[in-house]
Symmetry: C2
Subunit: 382 residues, 2 copies
């Protein structure tokens, strides 16, 4: 165990129908006017947006709408949200949607409160304040509902970068698992992959021996796999959807890496370049990157890969665990090669350069020089 | 999964030497004067109290001392603390010690802010406010450092009752595992038993089928058992002490029961009467009660007891798991019968009546009528 600070002040309201409580929560927090951030069609079609608006009206919280957030949310739209928020003097940001909507809401919350352009925070400037963020989640995947992270794509520079700060932990997040029942098979699978990805980054890249955290990770991975299979076969299974939603939240709320010491986030680093360059779904990109990265990295921490194979799949050898996980991604309907998402192997040098920029920004360019990144990318071809 | 609210705003500072950061934390929270609550000799002898005072002085936070907290902290001393806090207009309470000190500090924080006697909150009145609580923990056991619970003994009525409220979650808790290196073998073992007890209450009394939470509990129990054995053999093993400290915190911070639906706390209910009547160590009382209660309760949830035997001990039958746990408590140096702590079987009717009062207060007297309580108590004799 290494030293750590753990501080996760987000209040979670979990259960069917709880989106109607968000107005009262805003009111109790003293918020009178909020920027309401959402995506495109689904929250309108489902009636969710109308329900949230009604509950805001019922308690007298004014709202200004900022819809149209896209998957892999883009900087230009964040900037529009910041302008709108300033023009209307909002006191908080309320996100209604999946991880992309939450991330954009967080970026807006930071940008509104700053006197420099918001992108500076994504390229290294420290966040020192933000408007309070509230969320109503519609997708089990990103964990954004209970952490201080946000990932935004600068579509001009094709950079997909992130912030991580205590200031954008949501004050309150509503997790109504029924809102995820209508998520498509593809995105349900991608959500499961994303949650698993969050768990394995520290698990494989920390030093071995922190068994408390290993057990938490393994328990969550087994839970996610078990329920992803139920959801694939019965998309409206309420228990599986609920369990998946909470597991995905716990997968990136700071719990599992607390105390493990230094670790890195290489699968996300590499995947962010895929979705920045090709606008593919983050979870799809991860399903391609993870088995390749695992194969490349295993010799550096073979003990932990053996443990993973044993505890998650009941297999003896680390390499077998990687094969089993790749097979499982495939069976869940995820792509596992670049070709399956239409990316040619000849693009690898361009992807490599994009990844390397992130590696430098994250200070892991010694661990991931261009040649290493290229090796991993070549393993994604077949 | 059932509906739930999860909200644990405590900031944890984990690592050697971090007690010297508590002054800065108080200062940043705007606290200028604090009631400093501690026990008797050990924090003075170890130099911890002096270090904490020095760091308060260094940042200009005034403190009024309220020492002398005993194990199984008593109401009369809580009331003295409340009087002292009022006379000196303190703005917060800082606990330096183990679970008893933390619990007394929380009770004082509630009492100072109330216009009724503090005991009313332990017998059913709702807590609506409290002074902010800060802690420096010296014992891995109670979980009080990251939850809203406090248990106090009314020594006149021999009632050991509790409060549970968001208002006394510590704002900041310092967990320096080195402070636990000098804890005696007995109290180290009792701490492990207490943490296990916190995990199994919901695990056995909820309905089966919430495997996410089951896995978190099992992972933590295995971790606690593994490290309790290392600590028994090497009391100054830094890794084991650190892991135990964090595991004990996670064992009662709301994480593992979130989403499991209704559950009860019968082992604590019964044990509280033992320590209220005989002033024995809480963990010792739990080691006596748990195997007896498990034996009595198993037929009501045999599937879960089979799961426990399998996942924790690799055994087939629930009954074998109970025997194995009792044996493990014994090997760790804990008493497992009433006789070992000098309580005569002829006292059982008096203990039963005391437990039944708590059962009524907790609204579980239908589940635990006097005859049922007596049955469990008879199983503690041998």
């Amino acid at each position: 165990m290494d030293d750590f600070i753990f501080h996760n002040p987000t209040k979670i309201l979990f259960g069917p129908g709880r989106e109607t409580e968000i107005g009262r929560e805003l009111k109790e927090a003293g918020v009178g006017r909020v920027l309401l951030v959402y995506g495109r069609n689904s929250v309108k079609k489902s009636g969710l947006l109308a329900r949230v608006k009604d509950c805001l009206k019922a308690v007298g919280v004014e709202f200004i709408e900022h819809g149209g957030v896209v998957s892999n949310p883009v900087l230009s739209h964040v900037r529009q949200g910041i302008t709108l928020a300033r023009e209307n003097s909002v006191e908080a940001v309320l996100a209604v949607g999946g991880g992309s909507v939450l991330d954009e809401a967080k970026a807006i919350a930071v940008g509104v409160a700053a006197d420099v352009d918001v992108w500076e925070f994504f390229t290294g400037r420290e966040v020192t304040t933000a408007l309070p963020v509230f969320t109503v989640l519609t997708l089990a995947a990103s964990g954004s509902e209970m952490n201080g992270n946000a990932v935004i794509t600068n579509e001009e520079t094709r950079q997909k970068y992130n912030i991580g700060t205590i200031h954008v932990y949501p004050k309150v997040s509503v997790l109504n698992p029924e809102l995820t029942h209508s998520v498509s098979p593809e995105y349900s699978a991608y959500g499961a992959v994303d949650a698993i990805a969050h768990l394995i980054e520290a698990y494989f890249t920390k030093k071995p021996g922190t068994h408390l955290q290993d057990r938490l990770v393994e328990g969550l991975i087994l839970t996610i796999m078990e329920n992803a299979e139920v959801i694939r076969d019965q998309p409206e299974n309420a228990q599986a959807r609920a369990t998946m939603m909470w597991a995905a939240t716990l997968a990136l709320n700071g719990l599992t890496p607390a105390g493990v010491g230094p670790y890195t986030f290489p699968n996300h680093m590499i995947e962010h370049s895929l979705s920045a360059l090709y606008d593919i779904a983050h979870g799809a990109g991860l399903a391609i990157v993870i088995p390749a990265w695992m194969r490349w990295y295993r010799p550096q921490n073979s003990e932990q890969f053996d443990r993973f194979a044993r505890e998650v799949f009941g297999l003896d050898q680390g390499e077998e665990g990687i094969t089993a996980l790749k097979k499982w991604f495939k069976e869940l309907g995820c792509p596992v090669t670049l070709g399956e998402v239409g990316i040619a192997a000849t693009d690898i040098p361009a992807i490599r350069d994009n990844v390397y920029d992130t590696a430098k920004l994250w200070g892991v360019d010694q661990l991931y020089p261009p040649a290493a990144i290229e090796e991993v990318l070549h393993l994604t071809v077949a």
